[in-house]
């Protein structure tokens, strides 16, 4: 992506590649069906169950791309590298290196000899072709095959400016991942977070934006060295965040395109814990007045503020359900921090967390099926998930300080931050599957906290 201040949204065009090889069909991304080849070795279709108890990574081969122009060899390899890293990063795929491939190359438009991929153990085969249009855009086509089922599972054509080659790669990885897992895509997305430098008692904080794999990192302008909790808008072009620019914590808006920023409103008190509604037309936030913190909704069009809770307790960390009908939040109205769900208009708050310990920072999955949270129990911090009615609570992580989960666009992976104890403790972004598997660090140049995962890019 462009690193300039005036970043523009680059269009990235996707067409589906058709049932009949060599024909490009527009608009519908569907399953392409290959002429049947001998079925053997497996009865059902090729599917990775991401929720399964034990997932053996799927042996997958990405064949060297067909080059319409030899000058694109480097770009093709770069794209394959990013696709491979995305897939292997899930721990659901094992990439078979090209040095082990034995099948003779055939044209991208031809039916590949799938039987030649079986001896090296490949169960999924990815084939691609790269070229460049007269207008300078890259054209990358790819197909995913079920080696034993003899079927094309997905085929797409992507058009984008050469500078957007990483986005092409993420879209390919998304197509492969979705075809083989049945889950929604998430690799073509970004993360906004707080970069932290300096000692624990003199931290400098600034806003940072990067691709979900850590590439294309850039810092966002701010007017204070104390900024917190950046949150994406649904169209991922705007963020909400907290800044101490005016001396006290207040909610600000910033356009990622232009860097333009403004304070969201001038209310009597401190504002924090903002999140957009799913339509992007409203913001829920906490307003603290006279020491008491309640939740309000702000309509962006007219900046009208509506009070949603009215208790002497701390009511904060609101997050909308994906249909916009309900809000999950935390409150200590019952004596300690617990999770509650209320109607989006502020009525009928019901407690949903009943386990031991304190519950905080609830965030509703974009799929609607789970709520992720931070739990403080026995002097340890955990990231966990539960159903929206509070059932099926499951803790995924534990450490001295794990905090602030955020959902990948497909609701299958969580990112959060972990900070160590003592003067040397430094926050670190982490990710974990909703199953609790594949806990790993997300690389950033400095300390990093308060991540928010963007929606899928368009």
């Amino acid at each position: 992506m462009s690193q300039s201040a005036g970043e523009v949204a680059h269009p990235l065009t996707i067409l589906s590649l058709a049932r009949a090889l060599g024909v490009v069909a527009a608009l519908v991304v569907g399953l392409g069906v290959m002429p049947a080849v001998a079925q053997e070795g497996r009865d059902g279709p090729l599917v990775i169950d991401v929720t399964g108890a034990n997932v053996e990574p799927l042996p997958t081969a990405i064949e060297a791309f067909d080059l319409e122009d030899q000058a694109l060899a480097g770009t093709a390899n770069d794209i394959i590298g990013v696709v491979s890293a995305d897939l292997e990063g899930t721990a659901l795929f094992r990439l078979i290196p090209q040095s082990a491939h034995v099948a003779l190359p055939v044209s991208f438009d031809a039916v590949p000899p799938l039987e030649d991929w079986r001896p090296i153990g490949a169960e999924a085969l990815v084939r691609g072709r790269i070229g460049q249009l007269d207008d300078g855009r890259l054209r990358v086509q790819y197909r995913v095959f079920d080696v034993f089922g003899g079927q094309q599972l997905v085929g797409q054509q992507l058009l984008a400016a050469p500078a957007d080659w990483r986005r092409i790669a993420h879209k390919i990885a998304d197509g492969i991942y979705s075809a083989l897992t049945g889950e929604g895509p998430y690799f073509d997305s970004r993360v906004v977070f707080v970069d932290e430098t300096g000692p624990k008692n003199d931290r400098q904080k600034r806003l940072a934006l990067m691709d979900q794999d850590g590439a294309n990192l850039r810092y966002l302008p701010a007017d204070s060295d104390l900024v917190l909790t950046p949150r994406f808008s649904p169209n991922e072009q705007t963020i909400l965040y907290i800044s101490y620019d005016d001396g006290s914590p207040q909610v600000y808006l910033q356009s990622l395109d232009t860097g333009q920023r403004e304070r969201l409103g001038f209310f009597d008190g401190m504002t924090f814990a903002p999140r957009f509604s799913p339509m992007g037309d409203r913001v829920v936030l906490s307003l603290s007045q006279g020491g008491n913190t309640d939740i309000y909704a702000l309509t962006l069009a007219n900046r009208q503020l509506t009070r949603l809770t009215n208790s002497p307790a701390i009511d904060t960390a609101p997050s909308f359900s994906p249909d916009g009908g309900r809000i999950v939040f935390e409150s200590d109205r019952g004596g300690s921090q617990q999770l509650y769900v209320m109607e989006a208009g502020g009525r009928s708050a019901e407690r949903i967390s009943f386990g031991d310990g304190r519950y905080a920072t609830p965030v509703w999955s974009p799929r609607g099926d789970l709520i992720a949270f931070t739990k403080i129990l026995g002097g340890r911090f955990h990231i966990g998930v539960m159903a929206p009615d509070g059932s099926n609570e499951k803790l995924l992580t534990t450490s001295f300080l794990d905090e602030g989960p955020t959902w990948a666009p497909n609701g299958r992976v969580l990112m959060f931050f972990r900070e160590g104890a003592g003067p040397g403790g430094r926050p670190q972004l982490m990710s974990v599957d909703v199953t609790g598997r594949n806990l790993k660090k997300v690389a950033t140049p400095n300390g990093a906290s308060d991540p928010t995962w963007s929606p899928l890019r368009r």
Binding site: N201, L228, G247, G291, T316, Q337, T361, F400, G404, G422
Partner: protein
């Protein structure tokens, strides 16, 4: 913490000035303590005038401390705030911002709200002592500005604090 350290020095000097006789002074200097430093302590020049911000910050104390997840003013805190109120009453032209802080054992949003509670508890106490509340602004820093960075209660108890920052006092 620097200021607290200064306060301890100032009090030590004060005690020395009140209780020392010449023999003790002679014996301490005889023990090899730098005589110039001892001299400057004994003459009392380190004591700030009672109406100075330095006196407020170092002798009275600019901060009170809270129990875990609490915004109740402790008995010790009431004592400090009563003296702060006396000082503010004697210096009616001075305004202040009260900062509420939390330790690292809570989540970010909650700690901002908890800090707001603490700042407001200090403000309410000072107002109950006759200080015009319009002189007292509040701000919460949540867990963002710890003064002590170890991860046990000796540090956390110092970070759970309400700090009365005098306008132009320049301390926090």
């Amino acid at each position: 913490m620097k200021l607290q350290f200064v306060a301890v020095l100032a009090l030590t000097a004060l005690l020395a000035a009140c209780s020392s006789n010449d023999e003790e002074l002679a014996s301490t200097t005889g023990a090899g303590i730098d005589s110039a430093a001892t001299g400057s302590g004994v003459d009392g020049s380190g004591l700030p005038p009672v109406n100075s911000p330095e006196y407020f910050n170092t002798v009275i104390g600019d901060r009170v401390f809270f129990e875990t997840d609490s915004s109740q003013i402790t008995l010790a805190g009431q004592d400090v705030l009563a003296q702060q109120a006396n000082w503010l009453g004697a210096n009616p032209g001075v305004t202040a911002t009260i900062e509420g802080h939390a330790d690292e054992r809570g989540t970010r949003d909650y700690n901002l709200a908890l800090g707001a509670r603490r700042a407001n508890a200090v403000r309410s106490f000072l107002a109950s002592q006759g200080i015009d509340a319009s002189r007292l602004k509040t701000v919460s820093f949540g867990k963002e500005r710890p003064v002590s960075t170890c991860s046990n209660d000796s540090c956390w108890s110092e970070n759970r604090r309400g700090v009365t920052v005098l306008a132009g006092g320049g301390v926090s």
